[in-house]
């Protein structure tokens, strides 16, 4: 993570040059499209498409690797829990019942296993576009993009303020941790048991909270003194005019949604491979 607290990575790519609001709409559209289906074929295509776009954006694999692994692992665990909690949900959905493993009181069906696999694909297929948005949208442009697609500027600016102060709070947290460590509180591996260390992390919340509250007071004073929130509208220092590429992207996205609606009328919701 860069010191500015955002994940933005500067690269000369066509995706970087798209307006933040365009990318936000793409993200929303893409997600809506994915949620129309429960079909692994569509998800596979979208995963390939998504990662190709990531390739175009020139974001190094190294930076997105941890997040990608995290999401994949999360989806797998999620699927596993789903299997254990509702072992027959897939059959209820598809209406066919193929017993795979039986254990006392019930059985896991093949349909449910397939459902779990499909669900994992579903989550992963949203990942590339999210990464794309997060890594290629400059935090400064983020607030103005939100505002451009209709979010009130006060809400939008709150996001920007959060970006601004995350590193400060992080630094403060380190300071507090060091102060506590110097008094014999264990935070590091090997100094105490995991439970104890976790409890110790709770102790730093009190000072962190107090200092954050103080900060909020200063920030809100600073905002008021400089005329924030008085006018109904505001202009943005960092806003750039939309380009032809933004238009094309939105058009393509509209096409995708249209295609989605058409496909939805043609396909059954939960596609089985046999």
């Amino acid at each position: 993570m860069s010191r500015s607290g955002s994940l933005y990575i500067e690269r000369p790519s066509i995706i970087h040059r798209l307006d933040g609001s365009t990318k936000l709409l793409l993200l929303i559209g893409w997600t809506a499209f994915i949620f129309m289906f429960m079909d692994i074929r569509i998800f596979s295509i979208m995963i390939v498409l998504g990662f190709s776009l990531l390739k175009v954006s020139k974001i190094p694999w190294k930076s997105i690797k941890p997040l990608t692994y995290f999401v994949v692992a999360f989806s797998l665990i999620n699927s596993l829990i789903l299997l254990l909690v509702t072992p027959q949900y897939g059959s209820e959905l598809s209406g066919s019942y193929t017993k795979l493993i039986s254990y006392f009181g019930g059985a896991i069906t093949l349909e449910t296993v397939w459902y779990a696999v499909t669900l994992s694909f579903k989550y992963v297929s949203i990942l590339p576009i999210t990464l794309l948005f997060v890594f290629t949208t400059h935090p400064s442009r983020f607030a103005s993009s939100l505002n451009r697609i209709g979010v009130s500027y006060k809400v939008a600016y709150a996001v920007s303020i959060a970006f601004r102060y995350i590193p400060d709070v992080k630094e403060e947290m380190m300071n507090i941790m060091h102060a506590q460590e110097a008094r014999g509180v264990a935070f590091r591996k090997g100094d105490a048991s995991l439970v104890k260390r976790l409890r110790n992390f709770v102790t730093i919340l009190v000072p962190l909270l107090i200092s954050s509250l103080n900060r909020i007071e200063v920030v809100s004073n600073a905002l008021q003194l400089r005329g924030f929130g008085y006018e109904k509208k505001r202009t943005w220092y960092n806003r750039r005019p939309l380009t032809i590429n933004d238009g094309i992207s939105i058009l393509l996205m509209t096409g995708l949604i249209g295609l989605g609606i058409y496909l939805k009328s043609q396909l059954t919701y939960f596609w089985l491979f046999y």
Binding site: R3, R164, E181, N221, L225, R226, G227, T235
Partner: protein
């Protein structure tokens, strides 16, 4: 035409039972430069809040009397209207930097007032040029120093084109050199634009040396003085209000000079009329004898950097700490002072070199093991305090070390007594003042019976009364045999209290010597980016080669006076 007029003005915060400002009558004219001074809790910040509209629009309360700003009745406007008349630079340089980049922050007022981008860019550029920060337009705040952030805030205020600029403790978080630059910048803007300048500060010396038209002294919500510095400085008003006079004025008074308002003492070059008095005093003054002490901690050839390819933050640093001494580590921001402290306390580990405590190497000891022998008191007590009750806070370290509860109580009581907090042992920490909290943090370190206590900028942001009280207490501690290390850029603090000092610059030790010798070494002071105090100017009356002797004799003399 008058800019700001207070007439029989009083203000009482909603949650309080007594008014914070009582019957204020004050007039500030166009183009004036005013210093509003007062100890903590005197109401000077509240007065500032009244001027910039945070009162009553953000902090609510009861107002009596009248306040006119540029002829308009203040109550009937809004904070928005007032921000068009008065620009405010706040004390907290981080808190008020709301943009993600310099340009964005400066543009903030424009954005909120729907200025189009073209005008915005021109205005931002012009403002940044007038504070000499144009080269930083795309920087993020994290890459700027405190002084630079303040410049950006000032640029942001300049875009508003207000005639009045209000600075709320602008020097509080700045090192002496940056403070001087900030004041020069303010003067430059006043000259260019003819702005009215109001500075709220308790660091009086710095502001007075930059020249002001009037000083307003506040005490307990009342204006106790409103006069030209030449009239103010001969009086005892500042001292009685618990404020520190400029050092040279304090010194002149201490050596028995009677200052007359006609001597225009606010300009430091005018001290030459007292040359004979100073020389006479110097001839008769004595020097302190040097005390021999044993070494307790040795740092040998320490090297440190954060990453393999990063530049060295600490390079070949060697020094020692002696038993029962007060050692100052001097250096400007970025000199590596805090890093050095982290190395000693074990928060980070040196790449090369040894740290030896009483003959035993600390190299392999963790921060936790070291914490019983080396206590580290952070600058901000709020970063250290995690418990609700004072007793629990002080007992925290012992309980972490699993000391039996009977012993815990005994040791905590003892530490609380030493720190003068015994009677308050069952109070909640939140009921304490900043200075008292600072004491709690010291008590919580003392209770561990460390051999060395490290204090990081112990007096930053405190007014003189608290400063004196706190340092007096530290001095007593030292006499009990504990070694105290103080990290500071305040030369006066070092001169008054430290036995010796280590000067750090860009991660290396430039010199280890007595503070008076260091202050007399002009080349060294410049190289380390430290700033001499006005006592040096006084010493010059005796002669340049006598500076070190003068400072040490004066210090000894003052120590004697304070103990009487």
């Amino acid at each position: 035409m008058s800019h700001i007029v207070f007439k029989n003005f009083s203000f009482q915060y909603e949650a309080q039972t007594n008014p914070t400002l009582k019957n204020i009558n004050l007039e500030i004219k166009q183009g004036e430069k005013i210093l509003i001074a007062g100890p903590s809790g005197s109401g000077k910040s509240t007065l500032g809040h009244c001027i910039n509209g945070l009162i009553p629009f953000s902090y609510h309360g009861k107002i009596d009397g009248e306040l006119l700003i540029n002829g308009k009745n203040y109550h009937e406007t809004s904070i928005h209207d007032i921000s068009g008349e008065i620009g405010t630079v706040l004390q907290d340089q981080d808190g008020q930097f709301v943009g993600l980049s310099v340009g964005e922050d400066v543009a903030f007022f424009y954005e909120n007032h729907n200025v189009n981008q073209k005008d915005m860019f021109t205005g931002v550029k012009a403002s940044l040029e007038s504070v000499d920060m144009m080269a930083f337009i795309d920087e993020t705040p994290h890459n700027l120093s405190g002084g630079q952030k303040q410049r950006v805030s000032l640029a942001g205020i300049l875009t508003t084109n207000t005639g009045i600029l209000l600075f709320d403790e602008p020097l509080a978080n700045l090192d002496p050199v940056s403070a001087k630059h900030a004041l020069e910048l303010i003067d430059g803007i006043k000259k260019d634009k003819g702005s009215t300048i109001i500075i709220i500060e308790h660091r009086i010396e710095d502001v007075l040396l930059s020249g002001v038209d009037r000083v307003i002294v506040m005490e307990e919500g009342i204006i106790v003085a409103d006069m030209h510095p030449d009239e103010l400085l001969p009086t005892d008003i500042l001292v009685n209000a618990g404020l520190r006079e400029p050092l040279y004025v304090e010194a002149l008074k201490a050596i028995g000079v009677t200052i007359s308002p006609h001597d225009a003492i606010s300009k430091i070059e005018n001290i030459k009329v007292y040359k004979e008095n100073v020389i006479q005093w110097f001839k008769n003054a004595k020097t302190q004898e040097v005390v021999e002490r044993k070494t307790i901690l040795k740092c040998e050839r320490l090297d440190f950097r954060y990453y393999l390819d990063a530049p060295w933050v600490i390079k070949d640093v060697s020094f020692d700490i002696q038993k029962g001494e007060l050692l100052a580590i001097l250096g400007n921001n970025g000199a590596g002072k805090s890093t050095l402290l982290k190395l000693i306390s074990g928060i980070i580990k040196q790449n090369k070199g040894d740290i030896i405590l009483a003959g035993e190497s600390l190299n392999e000891q963790t921060i936790k093991q070291r914490s019983r022998r080396i206590g580290y008191v952070m600058q901000n007590p709020n970063h250290m305090i995690t418990k609700v009750k004072i007793f629990d806070e002080v007992a925290f370290g012992l309980r972490n070390a699993e000391v039996p509860e009977i012993e815990v109580e005994e040791r905590v009581f003892e530490a609380l007594k030493v720190c003068g907090l015994y009677k308050m042992r069952n109070w909640p920490v939140s009921a304490l003042s900043y200075g008292q909290k600072k004491r709690v943090t010291i008590a919580s370190i003392l209770v561990m019976k460390p051999e060395i206590i490290i204090l990081d900028e112990p007096t930053a942001g405190q007014d003189y009364r608290n400063y004196k009280e706190f340092m007096g207490f530290v001095n007593e501690l030292r006499k009990s045999g504990v070694s105290v290390v103080i990290i500071t850029h305040d030369m006066q603090l070092a001169l008054e209290y430290a036995d010796r000092a280590v000067v750090l610059s860009k991660g290396s030790v430039l010199r280890r010597a007595g503070v008076s010798e260091i202050m007399a070494d002009k080349a060294l002071m410049q190289q380390a980016n430290l700033r001499a105090t006005s006592l040096s100017d006084l010493a010059m009356l005796v002669g340049e080669e006598m500076e070190s002797a003068f400072l040490s004799r004066y210090n000894y003399y003052m120590g004697g006076l304070n103990h009487e």
